[in-house]
Symmetry: C2
Subunit: 280 residues, 2 copies
């Protein structure tokens, strides 16, 4: 199959590297960063680069797959610019971690049958094609979101893609996707940034000496790209705001138990440990 | 030197295992858990076990070192019960991560010159002698806290101990120790438990599928012993309560920026990333 990757960063580059091992695919890419394209051509992870997205209008792209792997805020614009492919034989998917704003575009176009959203739950605090690897998705979860009107041909094509990349595929409604990920992924990052801000306020030079494993776990979360997280936080604003309210409420419960009730505190921590062990 | 370890858990057991490689020491231990003692005798990480703490009254313990490596709440009682050794030639140290309540005991006894507190910033979510290892303290930070009246002989003895165990040793006033660790170590654990409680409220079966690296980092923090963390939280209650207030304030700042000001949000996240990179 002909596969076109728009945006050759960590995610797009890793898709290309992983698929390039198979002879079944012809991989093309578009990126405004010319060094990412040069790298990928040199590594033979892609066969060809596109000059512009208009190249996708050429007839030989029929029955192919287009993967938008750009930052979240750019993805909405790219999706809109591919209007000429809506309801064609070309399957369109993406890789971003928020879906509601993309879903609004689909709604405006009455849910084209060839658009299937993807969210590979994989990443790194490193970014760019230069850091891409050929097993980024192996064993990781990938969530698909699509409307009832999506054609099974296109759904199957996107499922096959992620299965070939080594992912475990599951399906979630776009709105529910954003609600759940606000809690399971975005909130831990908010908490890490909030903790860093709290430590910054402490004005203490030797923090590295006084931080055990606990703090280190948190800090890695704040190593990712501020641009990307600004996009994600802003595009899932309402759900994240609710999640922050719930986290503050849980902090208040803990604070009350720490101050007033050590016995009930220990029961509470034991229940949370049991919950963790039952779910993860 | 003769070294007596009171409490042969993860920390005490790891001290014994690490020191047993050297022929310079005779290592004795006391623990109410007989299987920990049997294990350690079998591994030859200790040479002898004590029947009771009263054994320490025997004359040949002069010029020796006693390490209290029990859980925080027990440590205060053990320290009090060693009153017969205060201001003797026996050096006394501990391994707990809160110091203010121990310091109150010292104050009551007018700061005996032979008590030097230790906090090795090392651990594991596993506990018990069975999980002890011979390089737990290697490359890790250990903080000493002692009063001006401490004799240099005893300070040096405890410094030598941690240096031999592979730690980087630094010194901090006991009250300041508890203030800083409330933020750098205890607060991340509070936040992890609060996040788990928030996720529990979500009532979602497939959380493991929807959690990326971000959540996993947090979850490991809540794997430790609820008993130990109840002790630590309760013994450093006032400082942790202030730290929780500061964290809630930082969460509110982030929430406001996410809802109202994406541009200032990106600057804020960039500053926090830069702070992290300058300090850790």
């Amino acid at each position: 199959m002909k596969i076109t990757i728009i945006g050759l960063g960590l995610i797009g580059g890793s898709i290309a590297k992983t698929l390039s091992g198979s002879k079944d695919h012809q991989i093309l890419a578009f990126d405004t960063n010319q060094s990412s394209i040069s790298n990928a051509l040199e590594n033979q992870s892609i066969q060809e680069s596109l000059e512009s997205l208009d190249d996708l209008k050429r007839i030989e792209y029929e029955d192919s797959l287009v993967i938008i792997a750009t930052p979240p805020s750019v993805t909405t614009d790219i999706l809109k610019s591919l209007e000429f492919l809506f309801n064609s034989s070309v399957t369109i998917t993406d890789t971003t971690s928020t879906k509601s704003s993309l879903n609004k575009i689909l709604q405006k176009f009455n849910f084209p049958e060839n658009i299937i959203f993807s969210h590979p739950v994989a990443g790194s605090h490193l970014s760019g094609e230069i850091n891409s690897i050929d097993d980024l998705f192996k064993g990781k979860s990938t969530i698909l979101s699509y409307h009832d009107s999506a054609a099974s041909l296109h759904v199957n094509r996107v499922m096959s893609l992620w299965t070939e990349l080594g992912s475990k595929v599951s399906v979630l409604d776009a709105e529910l996707h954003d609600q759940i990920f606000a809690y399971s992924s975005h909130l831990p990052h908010v908490a890490a940034y909030a903790l860093l801000n709290t430590l910054k306020g402490l004005d203490q030079d030797d923090l590295a000496l006084f931080s055990g494993g606990g703090l280190g776990e948190f800090l890695r979360l704040a190593s990712s790209s501020p641009e990307m997280w600004t996009d994600i936080f802003s595009m899932n604003e309402k759900n994240i705001s609710s999640a922050i309210n719930d986290l503050v409420q849980s902090l208040n419960i803990l604070q009350d138990k720490i101050e007033n009730d050590p016995k009930s505190l220990q029961d509470f921590l034991s229940e949370l440990k049991a919950f963790k062990e039952s779910k993860f």
